[in-house]
């Protein structure tokens, strides 16, 4: 029973840490399926986190914060689009530039606005997205297994968590069942085919950029107004890159990408749980070193897995064919 409770708690933690990964990887999915490599997931999330925390504090409304987060992130996405779609710039360079820009700008603006060393002021309860209690969760908490599943795992998350998990089937539906999705997939594989079919390649890619911006905006807002209660310098902490890794690991498909996000989320939750969990004194020299290093090894696992995947050890990952290549009409 105790093991089951532990298991439920681990899943619960996994769900919570997976949310930004899921949102950002779906953002990446739209961008890369349209043929634009998006390294700037990280920067967009960080920018959104800052904008959301600032505006939530100023207006006293979490929802205003969410709106600000989305706007900031979409603007950054459009900047990426302007460089890499309109001006055929190198998409990786543009993405990296945005990451560096945001990492610096959020701290500079934070210091000048709030004078708290780059942090934003602590948000009050009503300025944040708080856990939603499902009906009867309290009462059912003591019912073994099903009750615990309901009260711990399903109930008690904030609205953004539920949104993130709904975004995945929605993304699948949009990508595979709509006209927009067909054109999106086509423009990432063979933009010339799209152009000759009388569809604007640039317009399609810009639309994908906006969607990526919206999703990263929600992810960033989650970081600073739901998971934490303020913006902290570099709080995205590489999550954008892990999301990118999950996208590759999931082979640019919504369902498999979700699974990859949950796997990486689980590893992150496990690593947090294991920090200092071992009694190192009792172990001998080499073993103690290994146990101390284990959480860090787990942290690195997502990247190790992706390297193995790209090296061809774990199946093959074939990126959208036109991904990363600016579309230049030549005839």
């Amino acid at each position: 029973m105790e093991q089951f409770t532990f298991f439920i708690l681990m899943l619960d933690a996994t769900a919570r840490v997976s949310v930004p990964l899921i949102l950002a990887s779906m953002a990446g999915l739209f961008a890369e399926r349209s043929g634009v490599v998006d390294i700037s997931l990280e920067g967009k999330m960080l920018g959104a986190a800052f904008a959301a925390a600032s505006v939530a504090w100023l207006t006293g409304s979490a929802w205003m914060g969410l709106g600000a987060g989305i706007v900031a992130s979409v603007l950054l996405a459009l900047l990426h689009g302007w460089a890499s779609i309109t001006h055929n710039g190198n998409q990786v360079v543009s993405g990296v530039a945005i990451n560096i820009l945001v990492a610096g700008l959020t701290v500079v603006l934070g210091i000048s606005f709030f004078r708290q060393g780059g942090r934003t002021p602590q948000l009050a309860r009503e300025e944040r997205f708080l856990p939603l209690e499902w009906p009867g969760a309290q009462a059912l908490a003591d019912v073994p297994i099903l009750g615990q599943l309901y009260s711990e795992l399903l109930s008690g998350h904030n609205i953004l968590v539920y949104i993130a998990f709904l975004i995945v089937p929605l993304t699948w539906w949009v990508v595979y069942r709509t006209r927009f999705g067909l054109r999106l997939r086509a423009v990432g594989e063979n933009p010339e085919a799209v152009d000759t079919a009388g569809i604007s390649v640039a317009a399609m890619r810009y639309r994908a950029m906006v969607l990526a911006g919206v999703l990263c905006g929600i992810a960033g807002t989650y970081l600073s107004t739901a998971q934490s209660a303020a913006f902290i310098k570099d709080m995205s902490a590489g999550k954008g890159f892990i999301a990118l890794a999950a996208l590759i690991f999931g082979k640019w498909r919504p369902k498999t990408t979700l699974l990859a996000c949950l796997l990486f989320g689980f590893l992150e939750a496990a690593s947090a749980r294991l920090q200092g969990a071992f009694n190192v004194e009792n172990a001998s020299g080499a073993m103690a070193e290994f146990l101390k290093g284990l959480p860090f090894l787990i942290d690195a696992l997502p990247f190790i897995l992706v390297v193995l995947l790209l090296a061809g050890f774990v199946g093959t990952a074939v990126a959208p064919k036109a991904s990363g290549i600016p579309y230049v009409k030549e005839r």
Partner: protein
């Protein structure tokens, strides 16, 4: 092709009655410049409704530019376009599609990871959700297939189907969008002769149903076989608009080039002597791990030209690269002169050259020349270490330029300026420069890949003559080409490659197009004859 030809001439006979109708397409005084290049000059032409109209011209004559204007990729600088008698402004492919113009591009505009059905509806989905559009398109496809011999499996992935079928998908795409006029840009370049025949039957049946077909090609034979009218373009101008029935291949060739050309290659019978190249059990695996050359064995003797025919992508390129020392084979032996090479003793391209091999690569842009280099630099690539080009420490620019000037003179490379960047020469002159470089090293064996791809008729004639001279001088030549005409007129022996295997060998005298075409499609002609009997 013969069937289609007969149908073509019959329909041409009653063309005069259609002349009163408005033309399907009429172009008046179209002009288009790209910087200093005047790609289209005062082009006027009339394409009759319900006819197959050929547009022929050499590379760079302006055919593709003109069609791109008609399809909305470019805007003409001046001039008017009439479709069905009404003037149209075509600013984008969208406008062209709306005006009933469809285009089948030389490089297919298909998404490999999509099914045929998905490709067909892309851009004409008929609503924000796909389900309805897919169902409707499926019905439409079934109808079009019944009408015009256009069988395809709508659920097959485009990346998995042969190019002949991919081309049908392109035609279906245009028809589904309501195209009344269909433009095909060099449609037979990637097809076997049988596939080309099938295409022509489809085109003839489309025409009989009242569609208008514009066929852009550089192959005179196709024009003669299937068109009713032909426009010849030369240097951006219309050289002639003629009825196909009133002209001949010789006349068209002369109009295209602007002077008399010799279409046939004159040569004496070969007198082969010693074996120069012997290949045995050769296997080559490409970068993706796919075996592209499978247990290939053959030889080439001094004083003969051996041709390798086949549809592009059947292992010819990989075979060439292995022989040239560029790509290491996984098994087999290559004997060149006295040197015996196996995968373990495999050497690089420079060593192969020193063993007496010259190599004119298939793709001159990628492997033959460095485009931004001056002609004199490109003219010594691969031989740059030769004493002839070097001083004691530094390269001798003086010697290099002098040598290049001589090559340019001997091989009629124009303009004969050794300091011009390689990219500034026309395709034919670039190719002559590569051929000159390789031939002048006097190799015992010359590997030649697609020697006349993207080369004008004048240069083709020149290069062919040089290859024969080389053979007559007692050298061995291995020629790889996807142009069956070229192989049949030059090679003394013909090998056919299909799916990595050499599936047959024929002496020139015994070769005919039908038989080679079947081999290129992987069908054993002998077996098929048995089956028929």
């Amino acid at each position: 092709m013969n069937d289609a030809g007969v149908v073509g001439r019959e329909a041409a006979a009653d063309l005069s009655s259609a002349a009163a109708l408005p033309a399907a397409i009429e172009l008046r005084n179209i002009n288009k410049s790209f910087g200093p290049v005047h790609a289209n000059r005062d082009i006027s032409l009339r394409i009759e409704k319900g006819s197959i109209h050929g547009i022929i011209g050499e590379n760079g004559a302006g055919k593709s530019t003109l069609m791109s204007i008609l399809y909305g990729f470019y805007q003409a600088d001046s001039g008017e376009i009439f479709v069905d008698g009404t003037q149209q402004t075509i600013r984008s492919p969208d406008d062209a599609i709306a005006a009933g113009i469809g285009m089948v591009h030389q490089h297919f505009m298909l998404v490999d990871t999509f099914t045929i059905l998905e490709n067909v509806i892309l851009g004409a989905e008929g609503g924000a959700l796909l389900a309805d559009g897919l169902d409707k398109a499926r019905e439409e496809l079934a109808r079009l297939q019944r009408e015009y011999e256009l069988e395809v499996d709508p659920d097959a992935l485009v990346g998995d189907i042969p190019v002949g079928i991919q081309q049908r998908v392109e035609i279906l795409k245009a028809l589904l969008r309501g195209a009344e006029t269909l433009i095909l840009d060099e449609p037979t370049g990637v097809l076997t002769p049988q596939e080309a025949d099938h295409l022509f039957r489809i085109l003839a049946s489309l025409r009989d149903q009242g569609k208008t077909i514009v066929l852009i090609t550089h192959k005179l034979r196709e024009i003669m076989a299937i068109t009713q009218n032909v426009t010849v373009m030369r240097q951006g101008r219309v050289a002639a608009n003629v009825r196909t029935a009133d002209t001949s291949t010789e006349q068209l060739a002369e109009l295209m080039v602007g002077r008399k050309v010799l279409l046939r290659v004159d040569k004496k019978p070969a007198t082969p002597t010693d074996v120069v190249l012997n290949v045995d059990g050769l296997r080559v695996v490409d970068g993706l791990g796919v075996e592209r050359v499978k247990r290939v064995g053959f030889n080439v003797r001094a004083g003969e030209i051996v041709g390798i025919a086949g549809v592009a992508g059947n292992g010819q390129s990989e075979l060439m690269e292995a022989l040239a020392g560029i790509h290491r084979p996984t098994a087999g032996t290559i004997q060149i002169g006295d040197a015996q090479l196996t995968p373990t003793s495999f050497v690089d391209a420079r060593d192969m050259r020193e063993k007496g091999l010259g190599h004119v690569p298939e793709d001159r842009h990628r492997m033959g020349l460095v485009m931004p280099f001056e002609a004199n630099e490109s003219a010594i690539l691969g031989y740059h270490y030769d004493r002839a080009y070097n001083g004691r420490i530094l390269m001798s620019r003086h010697k290099i330029v002098e040598r290049t000037a001589k090559l340019m003179h001997d091989y009629d490379v124009r303009p004969d300026n050794p300091h011009l960047p390689s990219a500034n020469f026309s395709g034919g002159n670039q190719q002559k420069l590569v051929v000159a470089r390789e031939m002048e090293q006097n190799p015992d064996l010359l590997l030649v890949g697609q020697p006349t791809r993207g080369v004008d008729i004048g240069a083709i004639e020149f290069i062919h003559r040089r290859l024969i001279e080389m053979r007559d001088a007692g050298k061995a030549v291995l020629l790889v080409s996807v142009e069956l005409d070229e192989i049949m007129s030059l090679a003394d022996r013909i090998l056919v490659m299909f799916d990595g295997y050499i599936v047959g060998e024929v002496a020139q005298a015994d070769a005919n197009e039908g038989m080679l075409g079947l081999m290129m499609a992987g069908v054993d002609p002998a077996k098929q004859q048995e089956a028929v009997a």
